[in-house]
Each structure stands twice: as structure tokens, then as C-alpha cells.
Amino acid sequence: MSKVLLKVDHLKKYFPIRQGMFARHVGDVKAVDDVSFELYEGETLGIVGESGCGKSTTGRAIMRLHEPTEGKVLFDGIELTDLNNEQMRKVRRDIQMVFQDPYASLNPRHTVEKILEEPLIVHGIGNAKERKNKVREYLEIVGLSSYHAKRYPHQFSGGQRQRIGIARALMTNPKLIIADEPVSALDVSIQAQVLNLMQRLQDDLKLTYIFIAHDLGVVRHISDRVGVMYLGRLVEIAESELLYHEPLHPYTQALLSAVPVPDPVFEREQLLLKGDIPSPSNPPTGCTFHTRCPHAMEKCKQVIPMLQQVKSGHSVACHLYEAPQ
């Protein structure tokens, strides 16, 4: 068994809602609400879930780009939540993030060369010539060309920008990459190239990934294990094959049934979810999925189901799977 590289322990991130002239604190958006998981060195953990359920916030809270409200994050034996800014800055060499919105995360006034070189300068890696060479090398690795180095972000297409974001995360040879929708804007062929590349780098450099994505085909392809989030909570986590063959949580079942299939004649049975998406500032009591769950019972409205292992490699938070008392 490989070692645990990252341990996320009861992580919470609440965003205060303020209102009125005096910015009175009237409530919280519970973006991440008590999430715990472990990540093994060299593995890929996929994270899926409804838009707005807290995936990006989880990634950002791990890196302390959002200060966690509660909980602990242990990375490679270091308690990240205890570090001061300077110590945290050093650790970020080993944890890199590919941001979801490439446009917002690339400085529009810098050339691609400068953007890619910056993490090397910040962490004091290489001399000027080595850095320039590395920039060119990584541009090619992600399927761009060295002639792109002198251009500015707005001169690229959406998918090209996304690849710049990936190249930037790779520059410092990190141990852990939190990739937030890294291939969502890529056409399928380049997507395949980037995914194959990420897998190759993982084998060569023993990289560990948290891979956040909406495309369940992509997630299945790249992940060893997959976690499913709903309204700030982790509701199911399992080895990828187990999850896809036998999803246990009713939300996961609905999610998998909604995937469009690239075959115009294939008829799939879709479990459409009814009911509005609840608000993370006022989540339903008990199991937060009970307002939309086809199997909801009385108990679900009152008692929060805990994430429990129901068989080897498969945990779920749902009262349907609790052993009778």
C-alpha cells in the first residue's frame, strides 16, 4: 500500500453572507461542509458533483487559497493549517493547481513566456536560460508551440488557454496537482492527448492528482478512485470501477444516468432529478439530498447520514445502506 500523501480531515469552508449598510452577518454559504478523505501517493482521485457543490472550494481550501473555516489538512506529514504565509508559499511548490477559469487565472498583461516562467522565479529554480528552455519544452508537451511564447492570453482560443494553465502547474515539478476542470474546453482529440500526457507524467514522476471534472467519461478514464459531492458534502467515494458499475448513493445513480452518450441511436434510461437544487446557505435538514431523493424515508429528514464503508473500497453516506441496529 502506498503512503498517504494528503489527509483532509473534517474540512469546512463557510462564506459569510453580509447584508445591509453595516454588512451584518446574516448567514453562511456552506460551500464545503465536513469533508474528509485520504489521498495516496501516485493515485488519481476524481471529484464529481453538481455545479456549485463545493468542488473548487475544496481544492482551494486544501491549498489555503481560501482559509478553511474548520478542519485540518495534512500534506506529506506537514499540517498545512498551522503554517505561516512564508512556509505556505514554499509548500506551494509541491502543490499546484490548474484553475477552472483559464481566462481569469492568467495575467492578461503578461506574455505566456512570463506566465510560465514566474513560478520558477518565485521558487528560485534554474537560471534564465534554463528557465526559457523549460518554458519552451512545456509548451510543446501540452501541444502548443514555442512560437506561442511571445503571445498574450487573449490571443489564444479557450482550449489553448486551458493548456497554458496546465503547463504552468507542471513547471515546478510538484508532487500533487489539483486539476480543476483541466480538459473541459478541449476537443476530444487534444483532450485525449492531455489525459495521456497526465498519465504518463504520473507514471514517470510519481505525481498525485485530484481531478475535478464534469465529464464522467473522462473521470472514469483517469481516476483510480472517485468521490461524489453534493451540497458541500462527500456522499460517496469508491474505486472507480466499483462506482461506475454499482453506484450506491441515489444522487450518484441519477448523475450517471444523465451522461449523454456519443451515439445518436442509443436510448438510455435517464433518472431525472426532480425538485429545486437547495441552497447551500440553508441546506435541508438530515440528509441534504432528501428533498430530491426518490428513496427518501422519514429518518432521512432528521438524521445526517455519515460516510461509512459498506464494502472494501466503497463508502457511501446514505441511510439505505446502514446495517440494521
Binding site: G49, S51, G52, Y103, A104, L186, N196, G217, L255
Partner: protein, 339 residues
């Protein structure tokens, strides 16, 4: 039943000028969309899909970009010749666009409510603040945004990626457009919300006969939503066909490669197929087929002349010499594949 073409793009060429020369990002493409039709554009990243839609909307950044040839007919009127003022009247009225990157088109300094209510008011100038706000909240709920009443006071950075995308969609739907251009409208959305948004677009399409131009790289979405598909490569249209044909009987080698590259949720493969090589540097290929360097079927003729669009059957066309009857027609593909 023959339907009326609402939008006709003819020989459109959009060029970017720079110190190092000029590049036609969109190179003389022609297509049309009919009333009530959903047409998909797919193609390699950087092949000119977004520039095509920006050209239609009159939003190509200029300089460095410019429409250098062709016409864009909206209900028979050439809007490519319209002034900025005329275009502003049409945008968000007869023709609306959902942009690929929401942050480029949402103003970070204004609340979501501000921007949506503004869009409602352009369309209904006589409505009161209260009516406009109510309509804004209604549309936000329609696109599946929770806690709409709270969100209208939030700024774009306080929303998740998918929530921003839905605000964009809401903004485009405010005006019941005749033509809706949706550039990767669901990339940041999970599949359940994606299904909801696509249904919303289909409803709009059926209810108001809106023509939808859907740019996406998700072939699953194409299979489930569109009637007809255009495949672009390096600034040109390389294939055009009804949706079933594209999946069952792709003609262009690039299209074949695309369809082979999809990770299908139903099965798991060890490594994904990907088309070898990279897209050529724009403007670097002066003669021959632009796909030749990556094409496993390429033969001499492909290196010297640029193939035109050949008819494969009925409404199916592809830009490949393998379809030229003199080269042996379609059977040529089979024999090349065997050898």
C-alpha cells in the same frame, strides 16, 4: 418541408493582422441555419469556432482582427456590413450569444442582479424596476440557479464556474432571440444541469422556432441535441452531415479520428486514441490538404492541392480527395485502411 434559412454565412473570412503577418483564422466558410434547427460545430481547439461566432455577432476584436471577405445574412440582410450602432440593436435582441468564458463577458464590478436586470430592461424598457427584477429572478430559476434572491446581490467572483455560465445563459435567454449562438454553453456544468440547460434550449427552439448554433466538443451532447453537424479543421469546414451520418459514416479522416478519441462512459480503455501530431501553425500551410501531415490516408495529390468539399451522399459533404470519384471514391478509404 423546406425551412427558411435564418442565417446564411457565405465565404466568410476573418483575418488577424500582426507584425509577423496575417492569418486567416476563419478561411472562407459557408453554411446556413434554418428556422427551428439546431446545428452543431465541432472541431479541434483553435480551429476558428469562436472566431466564427464572434464574426457573426460583430464582436471580433479589431484591431487585430477583421472580416476580410464574405457576407453574413440574417433574414436576408447582410449584417457584416452593419455599423456598430445597428449591430448593438440586433445583439441581445434578434441574435444572442452565450460566450465560452463567462468571465470575459460578465462585468466583475457589478452584481449579477445589476447585469441581468439591465438585460431585461433593454428588452422591456417600459417595465418598472420591480417587474424587471422579478423577471430576472424567474429566468435565474429557469436555468437552475438556487437561491436566486440572494445571488442577485452577489458579484461574479462569488459564484462557482457553472453558476456563472448559467447567468450567461439566462442573459441570452432574456430576449427570446431568433438565433442563439451557444459557444460551449455547458462545459462548466455537471451532467444533470447540462441536461436541464439543453432541454431549455430545445424548448426555446421548439416554442419560438429559434435557430441554435451550438459549438461544443462534447460529442455526446451533439448526438443527443443536434440535427446537423459541421466539422471544422484549421479554419475550414471539412465535413458537414446530418447527425446520424457523422457518427455512423464519417467521411473525413479527421472526423473519424475525433469519433475514435471520445472516452465513452460505457467502457474503459487503457490509453485513449488521439490523432497523431498537432494542428499546423495557422497560415503555415500554403498548399495541399491542411490535414495531410497527420492523415494516415494521405497520398501525393494531398500534398499539392487543397481538396474542395465533395458530396458524399445527399446532405453529406467532406473535404477530402478520397471522395473524388476519380480517385476511386469511397472504396478508396477501405483499401487505404487495409494496406
Amino acid at each position: 418541408m423546406s425551412r427558411k434559412a435564418v442565417l446564411e454565412v457565405r465565404e466568410l473570412e476573418t483575418t488577424f493582422f500582426s507584425d509577423s503577418g496575417k492569418v486567416a483564422a476563419v478561411d472562407r466558410i459557408s453554411f446556413s441555419i434554418h428556422e427551428g434547427e439546431i446545428l452543431a460545430i465541432v472541431g479541434e481547439s483553435g480551429c476558428g469556432k469562436s472566431v466564427t461566432s464572434l464574426s457573426i455577432m460583430g464582436l471580433v476584436p479589431s484591431p487585430p482582427g477583421k472580416i476580410t471577405n464574405g457576407s453574413i445574412l440574417l433574414n436576408g440582410k447582410d449584417i457584416s456590413k452593419f455599423s456598430d450602432k445597428q449591430m448593438r440593436k440586433i445583439r441581445g435582441n434578434e441574435i444572442a450569444m452565450i460566450f465560452q468564458e463567462p468571465m470575459t463577458s460578465l462585468n466583475p464590478l457589478f452584481t449579477i442582479g445589476n447585469q441581468l436586470i439591465e438585460a431585461v430592461r433593454i428588452h422591456h424598457p417600459k417595465w418598472s424596476k420591480k417587474e424587471s427584477t422579478a423577471r430576472a429572478i424567474e429566468i435565474m430559476k429557469l436555468v437552475g440557479l438556487p437561491r436566486a434572491e440572494q445571488l442577485i446581490n452577489d458579484y461574479p467572483h462569488q459564484l462557482s464556474g457553472g453558476m456563472r455560465q448559467r447567468v450567461m445563459i439566462a442573459m441570452a435567454l432574456v430576449c427570446n432571440p431568433k438565433v442563439l449562438i451557444a459557444d460551449e454553453p455547458t462545459t462548466a456544468l455537471d451532467v444533470t444541469i447540462q441536461a436541464q440547460i439543453l432541454k431549455l434550449m430545445r424548448d426555446l427552439n421548439e416554442r419560438l422556432n429559434t435557430a441554435v448554433l451550438l459549438i461544443t466538443h462534447d460529442l455526446g451532447v451533439v448526438a443527443e441535441t443536434c440535427e446537423r453537424v459541421i466539422v471544422m479543421y484549421a479554419g475550414q469546414i471539412v465535413e458537414e452531415a446530418p447527425v446520424n451520418e457523422i457518427f455512423k459514416n464519417p467521411q473525413h479522416p479527421y472526423t473519424k479520428g475525433l469519433i475514435q478519441s471520445v472516452p465513452d462512459m460505457r467502457y474503459k480503455k487503457d490509453t485513449l486514441y488521439s490523432i497523431p501530431g498537432n494542428v499546423p501553425k495557422p497560415g503555415s500551410i500554403l498548399e495541399g490538404c491542411r490535414f495531410a501531415a497527420r492523415c494516415e490516408y494521405a497520398f501525393e495529390r494531398c500534398l499539392t492541392s487543397n481538396p474542395p468539399l465533395y458530396d458524399a451522399s445527399g446532405a453529406h459533404r467532406a473535404r477530402c480527395f478520397l471522395l473524388d470519384m476519380e480517385e476511386g471514391g469511397i472504396s478508396h478509404v477501405e483499401s487505404a485502411a487495409e494496406s
